[in-house]
Symmetry: C2
Subunit: 597 residues, 2 copies
Amino acid sequence: MPAYRAPVKDTQFVLDAVVGLEKYSNLEGFGQATPDVVKAILEEGGKFCENVLAPINLSGDIEGCTRHDDGSVTTPAGFKAAYDQFVEAGWGTLMADEAFGGQGLPYVVGTAFSEYMSSSNMAFGMYPGLNEGAQAAIEAVGSAEQKHRFLPNMVKGVWTGTMNLTEPHCGTDLGLIRTRAAPQDDGSYKITGTKIFISAGEHDLSDNIIHLVLAKTSGAPDNVKGISLFIVPKFLVNDDGSLGARNGVVCGSIEHKMGIHANATCVLNYDGATGYLLGEENKGLRAMFIMMNAARLGVGVQGLAMGEVAYQNAVDYARDRTQGRALTGPADPAAKADPIIVHPDVRRMLMDGRAFNEGARALILWGALQVDLAGKAATPEERQLADDLISLLTPVIKGYCTDLGYRIATESQQVFGGHGYIREWGMEQFVRDARIAQIYEGTNGIQAMDLVGRKLGANGGRGTQAYLALVNGALADARGDERLAEIAAPLEKALGDLQAATMWLLQNGLANPNNAGAGATAYLHLMGIVALGHMWLLMAGASHAALDAGTTDTDFHTAKLVTARYYAQRYFPDARALRAKLEAGSEAMMAMPVSAF
Amino acid sequence: MPAYRAPVKDTQFVLDAVVGLEKYSNLEGFGQATPDVVKAILEEGGKFCENVLAPINLSGDIEGCTRHDDGSVTTPAGFKAAYDQFVEAGWGTLMADEAFGGQGLPYVVGTAFSEYMSSSNMAFGMYPGLNEGAQAAIEAVGSAEQKHRFLPNMVKGVWTGTMNLTEPHCGTDLGLIRTRAAPQDDGSYKITGTKIFISAGEHDLSDNIIHLVLAKTSGAPDNVKGISLFIVPKFLVNDDGSLGARNGVVCGSIEHKMGIHANATCVLNYDGATGYLLGEENKGLRAMFIMMNAARLGVGVQGLAMGEVAYQNAVDYARDRTQGRALTGPADPAAKADPIIVHPDVRRMLMDGRAFNEGARALILWGALQVDLAGKAATPEERQLADDLISLLTPVIKGYCTDLGYRIATESQQVFGGHGYIREWGMEQFVRDARIAQIYEGTNGIQAMDLVGRKLGANGGRGTQAYLALVNGALADARGDERLAEIAAPLEKALGDLQAATMWLLQNGLANPNNAGAGATAYLHLMGIVALGHMWLLMAGASHAALDAGTTDTDFHTAKLVTARYYAQRYFPDARALRAKLEAGSEAMMAMPVSAF
């Protein structure tokens, strides 16, 4: 069975060296996040994930969820007990508002914990993950009464939440939604329609499930401007907070999927179910995107999480498995063969994983800090800057980190040779689980279009300019230290490619929007390479500083510098290739008549 | 359920334009392969795959194989009936020697058919595929008596064959083999040991299973120089050809795998089983590599096959699924949304697949021709050249075509959005099935080491020089036609990168062999890009020629030229990046102490 060790030390390094958590102790919620508190959360949270969630990950995959004839769904053995422990320990309350029973800690701290949860058991982590998204939407646009009625139990975790967007004929293009909401005299609505792909849509972990459902009210425009958002609880909630009648929403079936078997992906049939308008009528998409943006960062975390746990197990295997001899002569002459970690091509796969994981962890926690700052920074300018940055980088974190998470999971599986293909080793589960993260919450192609079509030019390109200035600033800071040139020089070159690609898109996307679409994925990956490279420059600087200051932890910082160098040599070269693909434009991509495919 | 259409027309184009089948009609076996015969084989073979094998692919994946308490194994519903049809129609006899009941057709023709078989049902195709490998070894090194006893029924397909290399502690490093062969007075051996990962190791399709087993004889050197190969039939074969006693080899269990569920992957326990030495004692590895080389080409075919069938289904879906609007304005204003094939990023995924599939088909059939020519060409020089070329390119075909096949299967799955993750659509099966091809018959890392460590410098680099000269020759031929510059110019640049990388490896791999290991995978991919590019240059030339000659099939050739252009713009840029990674060397890859991972 695969192992998992929460990378607490690396998280702390990032919080210190990249995020600079202590700098923000004057901000709301950050004051409580003292180094001791954060350390305790990471260590205890890590233990919970290692000891409670990881042991039921493989068994959960094999058993999967079971739907019964009455529409109820049972999660795999051990999930209910683990979830009870999760609720008992209050792990779901970290980031929630204190007004509703949360601990009010920064988003960046909760995000660090959520990586551990996904690494140890991605399917499990989705239940609280979706709950958090639903809470965020209610908190943002719900009435005081709605918040009071639903949030305390959701924060506690005794109730959970879901997001209901997709219908059989309608995924990305939400204007096509057919689910209807008929207004009732008491101000509620009757919701009727079919939703599919509803993660955590029905299960036995919580006492109630609060579905947030996109639907069209009678007479609303039949496009994206006519979509409203509704709260549809599985059990109606009485005024005293107790559970009332079973509502008219039933799980019609659960999907047989490639992975995340332990999370029930439901078809939900709404048959005149009672729903309550959440936020304004016809403004449902805006409210849903509050959930979506947080969810997209959360999906980026899943990419990292799968890369990390797959990497860890590949390292263990490469140390233990003996096969062949080192090219430079036997490493262990007394044995009949050397451990395969002596082979450069095995090292390549491990270092690919390490360089991505540590870079992505830094980027994601830096991104989570921007979410905090966008809401809590001292000045409007700082809040605006943070919001601009995270708006721009959200599709990059979602798209790049999940594409790479899948690639790293696959490469880590490859380290195992034939054993990697066998279920009991658990590596193939990581690949299957990682795969969904490239698809849901907007496919990575949609992320790329969001980046190129919306984010790049938003507010006259303000966020883009701010981001390029930020990386340029880091390069300027690095110029004083010759030792950083090995990472700074290729970063500068890649940044130049990113700037050139940006210019190309501005010039050619306007003339023919297909040029923007044709280059979108290449552009997203190019920005991902720069974004992780920026993080590696900061981390290398911090490790040099720590070594200069005489840290006793020389092994950690020396390894950091080796990995930075590996990233510089092995990730940056793709930047130029991506730019070349982008600049090829859309002609050859679009020239084929549909009939000729 | 996914569909499959055998790409007969494209196969014929390749056989005509790239392979030039008719040029070789003077060679053994080629005379029978007239255009009419080949057309009939491809069309009838295609129909068999479309109508018999494809319909049981998804159901076979879901049901999988079942092992019973007595060690017997049942294949999924429909497999036995389909296999009976396969035998009845003689599909397994295409390439086999006429002396043993085969049709004696060229390997290139059989290879074309095997692509269709793998696309339609990869798990099924493995049963005859392994049988062919076993036949090849017996034919190459068996005694006349052994050939007579085993080959006719194996060719017919009423018996099947297997390859037994791997043991629990021993995969790539065959010197570690522990299975023992004790000589008996009658000249036979008693084989004892445990073999794992034996594809098609036990099943209900054939009357007998002929296992070829690597083992060490008593007193043999305890390394790769002490390995012998044995024939171990499941049922002993009497002198009159009838089946005798059940031999002491039993399937102990079957593996639960990521994919190819309908092929039984067995643990085989040999307990004093009767075996017959095949070839010379202690020369087993050499005989096994006869099987292996054919098998590696066959695995490359699987990569292409998964890319092709996944692409076809992605095209169908992209034509049918409506979602969103074309960036340039509604393509179908009367409908509520456009088919997603209008979106450039969807096109990107489709064109990636098309450009790989058609290029890989050409490379593989060209490679199969070299196998034919190595055995049958008129002069020793031609035979030597063909052998040099296919020796060099075999690891590229295996490694590059399976890495890309997995990538294309994944991208094609992505076209389906959330539906791609659901089992009933069949796309996730293609990804899971494609994954094994990167692992078995020598992982792709081993292919890269074979290429860089063995093939590149073999015979003083004779094969490498011949290959570079071949591509240079094609470039010289193309210089007369300005229209080919759009593919020739980037090919020339990529070839320059390949030559530079080759020089770098020669210079730096000698000084430190870790440099060769560190660059091996990048080098293999770089050569793969050049090899497919070479094919695209030839195909573009042929399509221009056909159009110039006034072909009525303008759509086909116009599409070919668009795809060639797409390949040139979107595949070649990676060549420079791969060279840069390779030239970074091994320092950062090897610097990390094992304890620091």
